[in-house]
Assembly symmetry: C2
């Protein structure tokens, strides 16, 4: 039996809303069978029997959701960060992804990836693998062991990519994909398959159509890339001249979310240059935006207008986009999101107020977490994804509260501070 | 007697030029009395007697110069990074700097700062203290102990700042400053005083004039801020209506460098919006630019046109600008410089090619290092500032060379990799 009913004691904070942090000094977070029962100043009578872990003066806050990252690219993170997108793809990404045809190679690389993600602030993630089914299965096996909750996608591409990564044709790709789906849909406790057309230019209409059918048949979530840069958008218009906007291509084939609750959602990485109609459709279809600030800098894409998306009530989370982003830490991702929002305000649109710490924290926890359901908060009824941060070696000034300590922990954790506890859906992950 | 004659063995790299990295696998770096004798594939006959430290497969590269940082702000690094400049100054910076009137407070804070800087990739630094002479002395004492080579400045300001930080008047400020200079000029082996008018708006003409006289009298280097944001530039024009451009104010008072070699240089932080005449004057006067990419994001300043400055042959180094920048690591500073140069290219000027890894690395080593003389390279005759990086836990792919390993070490050192050796002017610093 899992030990997923417990109480944690410490300085607890989580997002009450986009604008507001809930802070309870020396409070109790109660979890029953993996579900948060809320945060209390005293342990309520009915929970008195649960085991209490006292984390002393540490910070306790929700786990983070990385809405977009490429597992096979982790092995070269940090390389080619001075190249432009296409050079980077050809020099590093495509050659590296080709190596995952070898299971021996995949085993080594994915083991490192999974171990490092387990130790990171990420508790949930939506992950690209490669086109290779065996290596994707192996990645799912590795992710399962971490106890993190993840969606993992075998990539589909049948055009406009190197021979070594191109699937024979749409039919073969779809057959492979359906077989993989059937093998994996109920095979794991922590991992779910997700449809993963790489992006419109590398997928034929026949492939997209088939993927749409699979999505409908099995009610599957979808992940892909959208409106990352202008030349990509122009290319999509060339390939799919009938489309009203880039996302319309996905939408036409049923790969762009759906208005109804209960339908598996779609997550679109980047959305740096989404046209107004595209934004409207995303809203109607409850599409998630994975905002990847570091990647958008590193690959010279630009800065996504996140303030505007937030004001329009879209669903937004953050993504590291490994290895367009070089760093796996979602703490870094929060601080990058705040930083680029300031440059956006200064250089692009003085009407777009920069993100606050509260907002960046919200996007990384409750914002992206909702892709997985009730995730990313400690409100009653949410799955208990928890990080425990020891900031003892980060000096404090008199008069600071938990908010200040949290800010320093997020900004300095590359240099100081460390995670000492991590729980996903109530299950403790050994760090 | 100092042990500053030695040989280090390992994978050695340094900037041959802005564009080119010199790489010697399993080479020997020879240092005699603190001065590099060059890098060799075999130990030359005449150096055979020197002690050899074999760092195995580690990376050996030049120490980094942080051309601009505020020691008293380190205590709140990471706070208020979602505020604008003025709110940030009033909420965090000024109240915090006021505390350094207390020696007890300064002792604690500066000890932490010095210890952390010692462990960082920084080997040389140009540092702001506060207006307080006793605390500044204390900071100099602490820096002396680290064996890092630093310039430390007592700040001058006699107007446009909170009462708690304003010096009585120009005369009092100048008297204090000269006394401090006489006390410190020859007091240390590793620390030199540097003139530090905070920036034009907080200094009266009488103060600037007096500082200029002191600078000339003692041939002192100067550090201050320049053209960080547009409203600051407008303010300076208002305060000094006779000035042709912001830097002209400093220049009029002899605080803006000098054309001749041998004269102590001036370093100007930021230069985000320097007018063409200002740039020309900087070139004539051999003024250093401290490019602070993270701070310029965090404080919504913008992005400095570094490519243009490099093409015009200006003197440029990098600065963390703690705590406008939240992170002390110069590795992070290099990667930030590359990242913002890509946004500058995308959002501001498509003619400004982004920085390469080689260029970012050059700026942090040889570029900024030259402020201290022959520093930042392993060419024969340079002072031997050395970092030794252990990247064993950063996985490598077949076919990668030292350049790829160096890139990964710089990008991932927040997450993986560690410094195992550090030398300044040939003296080993215990980490």
């Amino acid at each position: 039996m899992k030990n997923n009913s417990w109480i944690l004691k410490g300085n607890i904070c989580y997002s009450k809303s986009e604008k507001e942090l809930s802070v309870t000094e020396q409070g109790y977070l109660v979890c029953c069978q993996g579900i948060s029962q809320g945060v209390f100043r005293q342990i309520p009578e009915k929970f008195r029997g649960l085991p209490v872990t006292d984390y002393g003066d540490a910070l306790i806050f929700p786990g983070m959701t990385d809405l977009h990252l490429h597992a096979p690219q982790y092995s070269f993170a940090g390389l080619g960060m001075d190249l432009e997108l296409l050079d980077w793809l050809n020099t590093h990404t495509f050659p590296e992804e080709s190596r995952y045809e070898s299971m021996e190679y995949a085993r080594k690389a994915y083991k490192t990836f999974a171990e490092d993600l387990k130790r990171s602030p990420t508790t949930r993630a939506v992950i690209f693998a490669t086109v290779h089914v065996p290596a994707t299965r192996l990645l799912m096996d590795e992710m399962e062991k971490t106890c993190l909750k993840t969606c993992v996608g075998k990539v589909n591409m049948d055009q406009n990519c190197p021979d070594s990564l191109r699937e024979v044709d749409a039919k073969a790709s779809l057959l492979d994909t359906e077989r993989w789906l059937l093998d994996t849909m109920d095979a794991y406790e922590n991992v779910r398959p997700i449809l993963t057309p790489r992006f419109a230019p590398t997928c034929s209409a026949a492939l997209l159509e088939g993927l749409g059918r699979l999505g409908q048949k099995y009610n599957l979530p979808v992940q892909t890339h959208l409106s990352e840069n202008q030349s990509e958008i122009a290319w999509v218009k060339e390939l799919y001249p009938w489309s009203s906007f880039y996302g319309d291509v996905y939408d036409r084939f049923g790969l762009f979310g759906a208005g109804e609750e209960g339908r598996a959602p779609a997550v679109m990485a980047h959305c740096v240059y989404s046209a107004p109609e595209e934004v409207m459709r995303m809203k109607e279809n409850r599409v998630y935006i994975a905002h990847c600030p570091q990647s958008n800098m590193n690959l010279s894409s630009g800065i996504a207008p996140i303030r505007s998306y937030m004001e329009q009530g879209l669903f937004i989370g953050l993504g590291t986009d490994l290895a367009g982003g070089a760093n796996m830490s979602m703490f870094r991702c929060i601080t990058d999101a705040i930083a680029v929002s300031k440059l956006y305000w200064r250089l692009v649109d003085q009407g777009a107020k920069p993100l606050t710490l509260e907002e960046g924290f919200y996007l990384a926890t409750a914002g992206g977490g909702s892709f997985f359901g009730k995730v990313g908060s400690f409100e009653q009824g949410f799955e208990a994804d928890v990080l425990v941060g020891d900031d003892l070696e980060i000096p404090r000034l008199d008069g600071w509260g938990i908010r200040e300590r949290l800010a320093r922990f997020l900004y300095l954790s590359g240099e100081k501070g460390r995670l000492i506890g991590k729980y996903v859906a109530g299950v403790q992950i050994l760090l």
